[in-house]
Assembly symmetry: C2
């Protein structure tokens, strides 16, 4: 086996952003329109001029203000562009062509990378669903009867999906604690995070068609970090019987960088045992006989610079491919730009929980320096790393946000 | 008081589509690109050439393939274009200019009029929510504790909003009847309609801002007929705790025509008494002291050519303005093209129910010619009329769809 290639770009070789990563983003230079770039080391490669000079068929997609046009080109183009990029960034003879178009990250502004079509959020962690059940419905079985049969999910608001770095205003709304007689209006008193992974659809599907569990990489372009900000008091009062609405719709942050699925080739792992066996449409139908896989991604939740939790994505019960197959089993179509979140990533240990609701057990057990829910001024950063195909690790896009006081 | 104007267009005067209506749509002629038109009588006025000839500032918006550009222009432009159109279509001296651009409806293909941004569905009928509660949760209070305090709503799938006339494939998915031990996969056995009204947002709002109940007409462009197709068996199994997902996401049909809010000026009526009084943000803050209003719109549900129900929109508990104010009370932004549905319109009488679930009382009391839920080949048409400002009535856009067998 040959040594995996590394990049000639200064500082990239062996870093979390070597050529085995190459996440996509949308950047701008002062006074210029946003366009598509790829990250290598601590730089952004400005692709539009390079692709035009090399007369790449699809060079126009790099001049767009979102990744959607690139993503819509489909899997073959995504893989072929990745091979071309790997060549450019590992072959020293390309340096003269490429180097003038490498921009330090500190010189650019990053934007929301994707024009989000539909946003669906799942609930795929057994530990998270069990914890929430115990906290919200203490006198009942924590898992509802459907949970082990299907990946429970619901639609969220795509218009308030924002890029990492966007400040989040504390939402107002109706809150009613169980001890109160009537709801009152005011700022949320139980503002929370949900540490998730998000999956972005590139290739669409037709209405009436089903996307099988084996077609994940044919349709999903890449992966983002995702923080599904949640106002637990608003959510608890509103959510029966039609699910979360205003408790979630004020903001969902995603990373500025989209990691292509090919960069995760070394991160696929067996899922936890699914018992009972899911219905056929949630199990592989491919000739390999391999079932849907999980992802070995480590997550860190940092609150004001201190790590407060380390959720392991590998413990998630439902796989990304199963969530996609479930979304379309009724014939619902996919569009380029569809985004789906895994739901909160919580591992079995108390310091692996992916929300403040769980870390503070419904606000009853303060954690860290006596914290229960988010306070104004708090900064939360989610970081993600995975095994790379080069033998080291890669970093997925981080997600950060600061809480502003209610207006 | 002067006589209201009527149109010189043949057949329009005194019809359901006189100048007090003027709904907007997107049409195409054979071999041509879709563009914006307005309906008068049984014709479509092809606006792009007329507006260009008259050098209307905003003439470019009529060459678009959706109404979004027009809607984004805002309330003042919408009202001013309506005045201009009324002049063109009532003043005989404009006939030579306009008549060559009137196209018979039978010559055009109509398209989805709006590029839908976010789709939210409410649950604003007291009778519908009570009926569903009694059917789904027979051993509990039919209305949940939050229902009279806020307009319950949730996000639906905007990518599967389709134009009236689109055939609907019976969805497959997981179903589990209460009498069954485990879920099974297959075509829905309880396919249903929901007769609703939909509201389309024109002018956006910024993230963090709230849109008050008095700002309805500043943000909402118009009204569509809406059928929120529902697979009750899929929905009943999946909907706890995060709400409906695949039971609804396979298709939502809206009318080909969008009725501008100005055409409903004569249709506003007092809401039913809201007890308890809602929180302030759901009550008018305007100087008029008038509270949010309901709409006096009559709905007919036709199954295979026979009217099976006549739901009255005027009995709806929550007003369109309250639903909009609630959507943004947490700072969620609005985008041009946002669509929100009223939820099923059901009146107090058994023959005023807006879904087959209620008309057949959960499938236990067949209605019409022994019907419970939808069968393959069924055609459902929803029709809507309201008082017009001209003293007669106007028709809102109808919604029709035929059920195709599961694939």
């Amino acid at each position: 086996m040959s040594t995996p290639p590394t990049s000639w770009v200064e500082g990239a070789a062996g870093s979390l952003f070597d050529v085995d990563n190459l996440p996509w983003g949308v950047f701008s230079l002062p006074g210029e329109e946003p366009r598509v770039g790829v990250r290598i080391g601590d730089r952004v490669l400005d692709l539009a001029p390079v692709a035009a000079a090399e007369m790449l068929d699809v060079h126009h997609v790099f001049q767009e203000t979102s990744l959607n046009a690139l993503m819509a080109e489909g899997r073959a183009v995504r893989e072929s562009v990745r091979r071309w990029l790997t060549g450019l960034l590992t072959d020293e003879t390309e340096r003269d062509l490429v180097e003038p178009h490498l921009v330090p990250l500190t010189d650019v502004t990053m934007h929301l990378p994707v024009e989000v079509a539909d946003y669906v959020d799942f609930y795929a962690s057994l530990e998270h669903a069990s914890n929430v059940g115990r906290i919200f419905r203490p006198d009942q079985e924590p898992l509802l009867p459907n949970w082990r049969h299907l990946p429970v999910g619901y639609h969220g608001r795509s218009g308030t999906v924002v890029a990492s770095g966007t400040r989040v205003v504390r939402p107002c709304g109706q809150r009613k604690a169980p001890t109160e007689d009537a709801p009152s209006y005011g700022p949320s008193r139980r503002l929370d995070i949900e540490a998730e992974l998000g999956f972005v659809v590139g290739s669409p599907s037709a209405m009436g068609d089903r996307v099988g569990v084996d077609a994940f990489a044919d349709h999903v372009f890449g992966v983002v970090g995702l923080n599904d900000w949640s106002a637990r008091d608003i959510q608890a009062w509103e959510y029966v019987p039609l699910g979360p609405f205003l408790g979630k719709s004020f903001a969902t942050s995603i990373s500025q960088w989209v990691t292509p699925v090919e960069a995760l080739d070394a991160a696929w792992v067996d899922l936890p045992v699914q018992d009972p066996r899911p219905l056929d449409y949630l199990v592989s139908t491919g000739s390999t006989g391999e079932g849907p896989k999980g992802l070995d991604i480590d997550v860190e939740i940092e609150l004001n610079g201190e790590v407060v939790s380390r959720p392991p994505y590998r413990t998630m019960y439902w796989s990304p491919a199963q969530m996609l197959a479930h979304t379309t089993v009724n014939g619902a179509s996919l569009r380029t730009g569809d985004l789906y979140g895994s739901g909160t990533i919580s591992g079995p240990a108390p310091d692996q929980r992916g929300s403040f609701l769980e870390l503070s057990w419904g606000g009853t057990e303060p954690f860290g320096d006596g914290r229960t829910f988010l306070e104004d001024g708090d900064v939360v950063t989610l970081r993600y790393t995975a095994p790379g195909t080069g033998g080291g690790r890669i970093a997925l896009g981080e997600v950060t946000g600061q809480i502003e006081p209610a207006r």
